[in-house]
Symmetry: C2
Subunit: 414 residues, 2 copies
Amino acid sequence: MTSSFAPALNSAAALDAADPLASYREHFVHSDSREILSYLDGNSLGRPLAATAGKMKEFIDGEWGTRLIRSWDESWMQEPFRVGDRLGEVVLGAAPGQTVVADSTSVMLYKLLRAAMTGRPGRDEIIVDRENFPSDRFLVEGVAAELGTTIRWIEPDPAGGVSADEVRQVVGPRTAVVLLSHVAYRSGFLADAPAITKIVHDAGALVLWDLCHSVGSVPLQLDAWGVDLAVGCTYKYLNGGPGAPAFAYVRSDLQRQLQQPLWGWMGARDPFGMTAEYRPADDMRRFLTGTPPILAMQPLKHMLDLIAEAGIEAIREKSVLLTERAITLYDEILAPLGVELTSPRDCAQRGSHVTIDHPCFRKVVALLWERGVVPDFRAPRGLRIGLSPLSTSFAEIEAGIAAIRDALNEVLRG
Amino acid sequence: MTSSFAPALNSAAALDAADPLASYREHFVHSDSREILSYLDGNSLGRPLAATAGKMKEFIDGEWGTRLIRSWDESWMQEPFRVGDRLGEVVLGAAPGQTVVADSTSVMLYKLLRAAMTGRPGRDEIIVDRENFPSDRFLVEGVAAELGTTIRWIEPDPAGGVSADEVRQVVGPRTAVVLLSHVAYRSGFLADAPAITKIVHDAGALVLWDLCHSVGSVPLQLDAWGVDLAVGCTYKYLNGGPGAPAFAYVRSDLQRQLQQPLWGWMGARDPFGMTAEYRPADDMRRFLTGTPPILAMQPLKHMLDLIAEAGIEAIREKSVLLTERAITLYDEILAPLGVELTSPRDCAQRGSHVTIDHPCFRKVVALLWERGVVPDFRAPRGLRIGLSPLSTSFAEIEAGIAAIRDALNEVLRG
């Protein structure tokens, strides 16, 4: 580390000392390991909690190993809804009975898109934006191909995101559903969800929010905002582990109107009735299909307890400080090297990650990974600095930005 | 336990002493716990391995906690296919490149059904049987409703299963796909998969086998039988844990012809290319949709190692002995009480569970569960005795049948 960097390091120490959530880092595996100098990808895969392995062992020996199949009756049939309700309470701003945990985000997106497209005569258009996450765009493409739906594309500034004005310009009497990401996976742009939801409703359409990059780091008020449908993943800021299940939210008064096309036994009114015909449940259960991933939804529960204790507002406050700090250091250290900032400078328009661009970043990220500095790379030239509030220190940001500078200088020197 | 039962107990001891796989029971959690006198539901939820919790801790601390997001590059992108290939090798009789682990069985069934229905002009019928598992029937109903497909129902004997003759009578030039369970969830009937597959092929249709109730207990030769499509779950005889992911098999020469409708990023040719349009991968990857359940597929791997070591043929031999023993004891002890046998007496037509029927079994099973004897109940009057070969002893069967007798007598006495 060069001497010119010393003042910034001192400042990180001060920021960490003043951080009311600093002690939460101790709850995560290897938070002070020398192998991981700086983990800057909690927006892609959250770290495991130190308690996770022990809690899994308890589950394996107890609910699974001792209660065995009896656990389905005693607890697991309700688990996807119980964990869903807890998500609603702690991070979604959703009253009970509207959230379920199951499947992957993409599978849930398919189900809700299809459900939103049926039984709404004259409404045959889906609105989505070109900068949305590939799965979201691909699923819309696939649904449009099978149903003959028209796709209306919003073309946002790649360095920004979808504004309320852009939505107002495209939504209309033929719109069935508008699918947007609350926080853009690349730029980190934070959309104005309440305003956009209102605009979509004024046009008589439904809104489907992808919350993958906001849930657990940005406060959500799905009920208060009047959101119709939402999905999200639990392996980013909710630390559920690689490939942890998704969640889906369907506003209570919409549930009976919407039917998803994957008719599995767990979505039936009476799953163990072994009935001759499918009759969907009246409530959120109808959005289930197969046997829900009970084992895989266990780690998530412990992170929700931690978030509830810290409070989502305090988490957002730290998130803003972390991203502000990353941008300050970018301005000082990386901008002079020709690196561009892709994320919004206004923290009110930004989630919990900061993306910077440079043509050499593919090579730079490969070098960084060898050195225990772990952001991620998003083609063609983006480096994402993900700042998971409960597990990331200001020192990690400084060490990370210094390492990016050093690696970039090495690559530039050839 | 009454004295009249003593001879049978001696016999169980002899059978357990002679069992070459007896020592495998020690690999499972609580196999000798007093809390679980007799676990007879491994066909519904396999017991955890004693090693599972430790292996999960290793995974959480290592691949997840230390390698973090780097594990996607280093290992996880291939994990659904690597575990799939291992399934192919150990239990499916499938060469590499044809099996993937992801989603739930029902979601995978939907994808394969839809894929089998597209691009096959003039073939607009699905064949399925009335005794098939509810999800299978419901999914066919749903697909038929959305595509305008005709369903041709086979009506098998509820106490048996679908015969090759029954299939021959219904399959024809308009059949797109025949969906059958290899082992029936209720009766335990083992269908003649190679003969039926040939009959379906002779009619120019595709066969889709649901292997949930056979995989891990009955030897499979998907490649040799010429099977087109198959799905199965990993939480029964593969001990993957509650809600563990499903697997799908698609014969290699069919993969490029079939397209499933859930277009997610993980099914794309270049998942991290973040491309403008969806282009499905050329291989099994195209049957993926969202981020695959990496954490949830870990426990399964250890059970596959155990099955590989024991050998699936030896497992089947023990399975046959276990179900024979259950039927012998049924004849001696339960038939005199008016209990009916629903499963085939011919072991060549039987999987690894035995179903018996009595109008009082709902109450009986509730009593048994309190006593640490755990079969399951299938409405309206079935009690399933599931005999997972590596974790079940002959003593457990005897204790279980004695307990069923005692509980039934109590209920009958009121």
